[in-house]
């Protein structure tokens, strides 16, 4: 196709601002799907995506549109994940486009995430078309939102399209704006092949499917391709595009977007951001921006039933086929037995993996409190990266600890400022910027330790703002901090799975809270159980769970043995779901108690 008639664009929107509905409407209007075929939110195909209204994997759909100028255009809609955990994927998807629709809810306005992704798009020189959506709702204030887009983002919003994806209002205008405003792709079909990988997944029949944007040259079936980052060579066995069904087409040329498969076995071979080149006639330069993505958040995953350890390993391997962003390695906990230390891009990513394991593989999991990776310099000058509290060296061997720091942007309403500022202080935040956005909204820029975000920051932010706060962050570096390991002893035995790394100044307070939370979560045992929090050999908090006095069935009414048996069986079953540590039965929730520490019963 002549590049003059190709438009590649993506949609930037905050969750619930109507991205998926708009995408569906575009598909429907351009006839990519008949109304009969329309299932709501066609693009979010994973159950999880549909239920949560989030996009986890990217998609690329080709739409054929006959514009008012009489020409047929090929519009490639690249749908990207919107969550901060996946900002690298977002940036690669944006790199594959020349334009983006910025969808803003006509009553909610600009959110932190939208802002971050818009800046990302501007950074990639994308043409941005503001769309003010949901104008049919009674609370819609399109004029105020238009102004906000101009003041907050600094974008000319005079020509913003007023739309209601739900009602089909403004869809034609959006399509016309794409054709008129988004520039056709640059690059040349005559240069050697360079194609950007912006997503990949594993298909059990066809192996790894790669989504690419061809920047230069051609991509054909039968062609030998090479991946820039690892020099692996594959032979292309299929090329095509999604519309939204996969349609083979034999060739993609410069400017086009589509998929390829080449008998690649694992997604980790086809890394997002990598460049596909021709093996025989290789390009001499890779496309910019490739990064090895590294997990930022770590947690232990353990099967509740210890015999399911093998099952969990198989499941993790299968998931990894499809998700190269998470890592796992075997880990052994005294308390929880054999499990895996897993690394994730962020908390949402963790939740997704956890949910998929439970749902798709039917494994009951205990997840230990998530943490981050610290850089520890030992007294002998060695630098080690540590993501598991139990692997922290003895304090006497530590010269310094550096913790990952993020720049966090929070947008909220003025009336919630008090609570949010306090939260940010509590979380060791350093204010870098404070800006009124008009309309009662405020933008805060804070430097925060990542470790404070992974505990319970989202929940607390949500409750401090009644949900009217949005958050975006990116890693900004490392900072030397006096971190210490807080251990928990149950009946005198340290329970490794309950250890956590905290800032020294908070250690006492958090130790106390953790212990009192555990006292409420661990049921009475047949003997008194001491709970202690310790830093090294120093006990910083102690509580006692008094011994259970009675568990007895008094009645044996009319010889009803079965009732007795049922009750005993029920009690026994309940115990099976607990983990026995030493002599103490600890329920699963206790292992997550760590998560809530620092949260002084905000509910």
């Amino acid at each position: 196709m002549d590049r003059e008639f190709i438009r590649n664009f993506s949609i930037i929107a905050h969750i619930d601002h109507g991205k998926s509905t708009l995408a569906d409407r575009l598909l429907e209007t351009t006839g990519a799907l008949s109304q009969r075929e329309m299932m709501e939110q066609v693009l979010d195909t994973m159950d999880l995506e549909r239920e949560r209204g989030i996009t986890i994997k990217a998609h690329a759909v080709r739409l054929n549109y006959k514009a008012d100028d009489g020409n047929w255009y090929q519009l490639n809609l690249i749908d990207t994940p919107g969550h901060v955990d996946f900002s690298y994927e977002v940036s690669r998807s944006l790199q594959a486009c020349e334009g983006a629709l910025l969808v803003v809810d006509a009553s909610q306005g600009v959110e932190a995430q939208t802002l971050a992704n818009t800046y990302l798009a501007l950074h990639h020189n994308l043409e941005i078309i503001p769309v003010i959506n949901k104008i049919d709702l009674p609370a819609a204030e399109p004029e105020r939102i238009r102004e906000q887009i101009e003041t907050v983002i600094g974008l000319d919003a005079r020509d913003a399209v007023l739309a209601s994806a739900k009602q089909g209002i403004g869809i034609h205008e959006i399509l016309e704006a794409i054709v008129m405003l988004v520039p056709p792709p640059k690059g040349s079909p005559d240069l050697p092949l360079r194609a950007l990988i912006f997503d990949s997944w594993f298909d059990s029949y066809r192996g790894v499917i790669i989504l690419v944007r061809v920047m230069d040259g051609h991509l054909r079936v039968g062609q030998k391709i090479r991946l820039w980052s690892n020099n692996q060579v594959f032979e292309v066995d299929a090329v095509g595009y999604q519309s939204p069904k996969a349609i083979p087409c034999g060739e993609l040329s410069a400017g086009e977007v589509g998929f390829l498969s080449a008998n690649i076995k694992t997604v980790s071979d086809a890394k997002i951001g990598d460049t596909v080149i021709d093996h025989e006639n290789p390009a001499t330069e890779a496309l910019p921006g490739f990064e090895e993505i590294k997990p930022m958040v770590f947690a232990g995953l353990y099967p509740v039933e210890s015999h399911e350890h093998g099952l969990l390993r198989d499941a993790l391997e299968k998931l990894r086929l499809n998700d190269s962003a998470f890592s796992f390695e075997p880990e052994n906990s005294v308390a929880l037995g054999f499990g895996f230390r897993c690394g994730f891009l962020g908390l949402l990513h963790l939740e997704i993996v956890q949910e998929r394991l439970e749902r798709e593989f039917n494994i009951d999991l205990i997840t230990t409190a998530p943490g981050v990776r610290y850089r520890v310099t030992t007294t002998v000058g060695e630098l080690v990266e540590i993501d598991n509290p139990t692997k922290f060296p003895d304090p006497s061997e530590i010269k310094q600890i550096e913790e990952p720091i993020i720049d966090a942007t929070v947008i909220t309403r003025e009336e919630y400022l008090g609570g949010i500022l306090k939260l940010l202080e509590d979380k060791r935040g350093v204010q870098k910027k404070f800006e009124y956005l008009g309309g009662g909204r405020v933008m805060l820029l804070y430097e925060l330790p990542l470790n404070e975000i992974v505990l319970d920051f989202y929940d607390r932010l949500k409750s401090a703002s009644r949900g009217y706060a949005s958050l975006d962050y990116h890693l900004s570096g490392y900072r030397v901090s006096p971190m210490v390991r807080l251990d928990v002893l149950v009946a005198g035995d340290p329970v490794d799975a309950l250890s956590l790394i905290v800032h020294r100044d908070f250690a006492f307070e958090r130790g106390k809270e953790l212990i009192s939370r555990l006292r409420r979560l661990i049921p009475k045992q047949m003997f008194e159980v001491a709970l202690q929090a310790a830093i090294g050999n120093k006990i910083v908090a102690r509580e006692t769970i008094s011994a259970m006095r009675k568990n007895v069935l008094a009645k044996c009414y009319g010889g009803d043995i079965s009732r007795k048996r049922k009750l005993l069986e029920k009690q026994k079953e309940g115990k099976k779901r607990m983990k026995r540590v030493g002599r103490v039965e600890i329920p699963q929730e206790a292992f997550l108690a760590v998560l809530k520490v620092g949260q002084d019963d905000i509910e």
Binding site: R549, V552, A554, K555, C556, Y557, D560, E569, Q571
Partner: protein, 360 residues
């Protein structure tokens, strides 16, 4: 020789703590129920003569003399070694007592629960300590000295002092048999539901703590032992020779035949039960199927309820070696020669012990 249990689930009122299928039902159900009972008893194939009869409730003391007579006449083996009727305290007349003895009854179990008026009222009952004393005199006059008094530890509003007051009355009345039940709270009783839902009407908020109830129970164990009424089963106390022969059959896995709504039966091999509710029983709706008794488990989780303990076989000592060791170390079980039994502390934590003898 088997025992016979007859269920008569009709009451003048439903007690707040009650989690049985008993209660208040339409008046015309009673004659229908009696007919059904008589048919069921009449159809039973007696393998051997019953040794004991237990007329439980509900409130079987409300049965008319004629009905009671007809009912007991249907059961072979009179005079039985032990024939108990459960009775609501506070209104036993000489005529009633007379009717009971002439029908073959020789033991009465009084559902006193408490001798302290505010506690009694909260359960929905109407008797008083003095009325109970008079009941005992009436029964003695009719020749029934074998009397049990039920007490509940853990009633709403109960305190250490009020509990001792009830025990003072036991001391004064000196019955040969006492049952002490620790209150069970579940969704089957009004009180239990109220506790779960946080209501106030029946005083769920004033239910003593588990620890307090355990304390009351232990006070009762000590005081009754001092009165010469030692504990022979977790909830049962008797002067030697006055242990309930009928109830012992349950704990010793001897056979019994149950008749009426929710009655349970055991023939030495199979266990089964009748439909649970009165209506279901009247309509002869299907009951849960009979199941094979798992003796090797029951002899522990039922048998260990008796203070005399059990005598495990060699294979059982081996199979349960680990939990037995653990519980002996924890002071919940004790071994004396061939006998394994619960300790005093083990009684209060007996469910913890029993679970380990379930093999499934």
């Amino acid at each position: 020789m088997p025992g016979v249990y007859v269920s008569y689930p009709f009451c003048a009122q439903k007690c707040t703590y009650c989690n049985f299928a008993s209660g208040v039902f339409p008046r015309d159900w009673e004659p229908r129920y009696l007919d059904a009972l008589l048919r069921e008893i009449g159809a039973h194939q007696w393998v051997s003569q019953p040794e004991t009869v237990y007329l439980g409730g509900g409130t079987p003391s409300n049965l008319s003399a004629g009905s009671l007579h007809a009912l007991l006449a249907a059961i072979p083996g009179r005079p039985w070694r032990e024939a108990t009727i459960e009775a609501a305290p506070g209104g036993i007349t000489p005529a009633m007592a007379q009717a009971w003895t002439s029908a073959g009854i020789n033991r009465v179990s009084l559902g006193v629960q408490s001798f302290v008026e505010p506690e009694i009222r909260r359960t929905g009952r109407k008797h008083s300590a003095e009325l109970v004393a008079r009941d005992l005199q009436v029964l003695a006059g009719a020749g029934i000295a074998n009397v049990n008094i039920d007490l509940i530890a853990g009633l709403s509003g109960q305190t250490a002092a009020s509990w001792n007051e009830s025990l003072d009355w036991i001391e004064r009345l000196a019955p040969p048999h006492v049952s002490v039940y620790m209150l069970e709270m579940d969704e089957d009783s009004r009180l239990g539901r109220e506790m779960l839902l946080g209501g106030v009407r029946y005083g769920a908020g004033d239910i003593p703590s588990d620890d307090a109830i355990a304390g009351f129970y232990e006070v009762a164990v000590a005081r009754l032992a001092a009165l010469g009424i030692p504990r022979y089963e977790i909830s049962n106390f008797a002067r030697p020779g006055f242990e309930s022969r009928h109830n012992l059959k349950y704990w010793k896995l001897e056979p019994y035949a149950g008749f009426g709504a929710d009655a349970h039966s055991f023939d030495g091999r199979l266990r089964w039960q009748n439909p649970e509710g009165v209506e279901e029983y009247l309509d002869a709706r299907p009951a849960p199927p009979a199941v094979e008794a798992r003796r090797h488990e029951e002899r522990f989780f039922v048998g260990l309820r008796l203070m005399e303990g059990v005598r495990p076989e060699q294979a059982e000592w081996q199979r349960f070696a680990a939990p037995i060791r653990r519980f002996i170390d924890a002071g919940l079980l004790e071994k004396q020669g061939e006998v394994l039994r619960l300790t005093g502390r083990g009684v209060l934590l007996s469910n913890e012990v029993f679970q380990e003898f379930l093999t499934t």
